[in-house]
């Protein structure tokens, strides 16, 4: 590994100052499970590691007065599924947190880190999108917010400018009657990168769908928000026929590539199948059950 | 007389015979006998007085490796087989 510098600021301001000073040579270090490995394997050239974990805002996990939740960018995955309130409100995010890497990875890896890594297959990104999460960004010019679906711009790239960091995510309070689910297809049952990932959220009024969001991972250069698939469900009954309609739209929206992890044909098929399964899971949640995170 | 089983690819030298009877008290003597009866055949089995690298001799079911001095019984059956490794 190349020689690096390390800093552990205790305030967002200090972090911004260091990031601004070192420009593209500096990156925030949250769980490190991507960043350390990427620099070690020459997949990223970062000279200054700015540890996020001493900054209170980045380690914050709390419910706000309006019922929304603030998720600090460096909160590790294992804290999410051990937090009953968070798990009940944002099941799709927890579905993802439970399947990223191994138990040991989940002890360090964070949702914010996964988002900033901006991989097309990042497991937490479709769940954040279906929960309409918003990124809270701080930088030399102050703060700004960006919807998660607009955050990633290309594989490994995002809207963060030099000097900016992701402080936290705001997840709106889920409406009554809502449910969500995320699942991915991997050849093994754990320890893999999604060949395709699918997240769905539903808001039900009885059997009728009043709102829906669907997002796919690993089928485009960035995690894909398939707005049309969710919109098509509004007003329909939450049943297999409706889910098939959404799944068709999701499959058409997917524009995957052939790579070592999957083929175009398989990924198209999986986009359809996983959308259906994500919707079934979301329905189960909305109806008070819990979906099987089947593999 | 020992019975020698001739590997298929080498049967051209024995006019197609799959088995031949050769006199010899040791594997080495049988190989010499083979060469005498079927010129050129011995040379495919033995190089510089040693069994060719990668070959093993089996005498009456026992893998005697490259030990050409192995003694034979009058009714012995002799095979030449590629040596194996393993994981």
């Amino acid at each position: 590994m190349r020689a690096i510098q390390y800093a552990a600021p205790s305030t967002v301001e200090d972090a911004v100052a260091i990031l601004a000073e070192h420009g593209s040579d500096a990156r925030m270090l949250a769980g490190g499970t991507d960043l350390i490995v990427q620099v070690r394997e020459d997949a990223r050239d970062t000279g200054v590691f700015v540890d996020a974990k001493k900054i209170p805002e980045l380690m914050d996990l709390s419910v706000n007065a309006d019922g929304s939740t603030t998720l600090g960018a460096a909160v590790p995955c294992h804290e999410l599924y051990n937090n009953a309130q968070f798990a009940a409100s944002y099941p799709a995010v927890v579905d993802a947190a439970r399947i990223i890497g191994s138990t040991g990875i989940q002890g360090r890896a964070s949702v914010g880190g996964n988002l900033c890594n901006s991989g097309p297959a990042g497991d937490t990104i479709p769940p954040l999108i279906v929960h309409s999460a918003v990124c809270n960004i701080a930088g030399p010019d102050g703060k700004r917010t960006v919807a998660v679906e607009d955050f990633c711009t290309a594989p490994g790239r995002n809207v963060l400018a030099d000097g900016e960091l992701l402080v936290s995510l705001t997840l709106p309070k889920p409406p009554a009657g809502s449910g969500s689910h995320y699942l991915r297809f991997i050849p093994r049952n754990e320890m893999d990168i999604a060949v395709v990932g699918a997240g769905a959220s539903l808001v039900l009024d009885g059997e009728s769908i009043t709102a829906a969001r669907i997002s796919l991972g690993a089928v485009a250069p960035t995690p894909l928000f398939v707005q049309a698939a969710g919109d098509a469900l509004i007003g329909l009954t939450a049943d297999e026929d409706s889910f098939a309609v959404a799944a068709d739209i999701a499959r058409d929206a997917a524009s995957p590539i052939d790579d070592m992890r999957g083929t175009i044909a398989h990924r198209k098929q999986l986009s359809y199948v996983l959308t259906q399964r994500a919707l079934r899971g979301a329905r189960a949640h909305a109806q008070g059950g819990s979906p099987t995170n089947g593999h | 007389m020992a019975t020698v089983h001739i590997p298929t690819p080498m049967r051209e030298a024995t006019n197609g015979a799959a088995r031949v009877e050769i006199e010899g008290a040791t594997v080495r003597e049988v190989v010499a006998g083979l060469e005498a009866s079927y010129p050129g055949l011995g040379g495919r089995l033995v190089e510089d007085g040693q069994l060719r690298p990668g070959l093993s001799a089996f005498v009456d079911g026992a893998n005697v490796g490259r030990r050409l001095r192995t003694r034979l019984q009058p009714e012995s059956e002799l095979f030449f087989v590629e040596a194996l490794g393993g994981g």
Binding site: M1, Q5, Y6, D14, V48, G101, T103, G104, I105, E190 | -
Partner: protein, 165 residues
């Protein structure tokens, strides 16, 4: 106050297996490298160096981590438990005893990681199902045993520990 940017050799104070430990390390050195090469704690192994095999598992501030994915400097102020701290002066941990009795190791190179990971599991969930054991240990690769005897050993140890508790 501006934050110090550390480079070169950094002095790190930490706690390992209950004892206060100081070491000097470059920020690029991983916790795994420091444990093995600076501190002589070679029980944690490098199998992949990217978080995919679990052979380097240690517990850091109560959380199971892959020490190959932790920078040495991040250990400052932390409390770290390694395989070397699992047995007590009185004897082996029930998991270690169970691994021996259940023949749950072959080459043994993944064994420290499995035991550290399984100990973290049983501290969180003293009565896991077979599925929960397999799920928790999915990040620990073993190429020799086919996992069967490892899973049985963990369940066996859990039972013993519950009986003793």
């Amino acid at each position: 106050m501006a934050t110090e940017i550390q480079s070169g050799k950094v002095h790190v104070q930490t706690t390992i297996n209950g004892e206060s430990v100081d070491f000097l390390a470059e920020p690029r050195e991983s916790l795994l490298e420091v444990l093995r090469d600076n501190l002589g704690l070679t029980g944690a192994k490098e199998g992949c160096n990217n978080g995919n095999c679990g052979a380097c598992n240690v517990v850091m501030d109560g959380v199971l981590v892959n020490s190959c994915c932790v920078l040495s400097v991040e250990a400052a102020g932390a409390s770290i438990e390694t395989i070397e701290g699992v047995a007590s002066p009185e004897g082996l941990h029930p998991l270690q005893q169970s691994f021996l009795e259940n023949a749950a190791l072959q080459c043994g190179v993944c064994t420290p990681g499995f035991i550290v990971a399984a100990k973290a599991l049983l501290e969180e969930n003293p009565d896991p199902t077979e599925y929960e054991v397999r799920w928790w240990l999915a990040g620990n690769l073993c190429r020799c045993t086919g996992y069967d005897k490892i899973v049985r050993a963990v369940l066996d140890a859990a039972e013993r520990m519950r009986a003793e508790a």
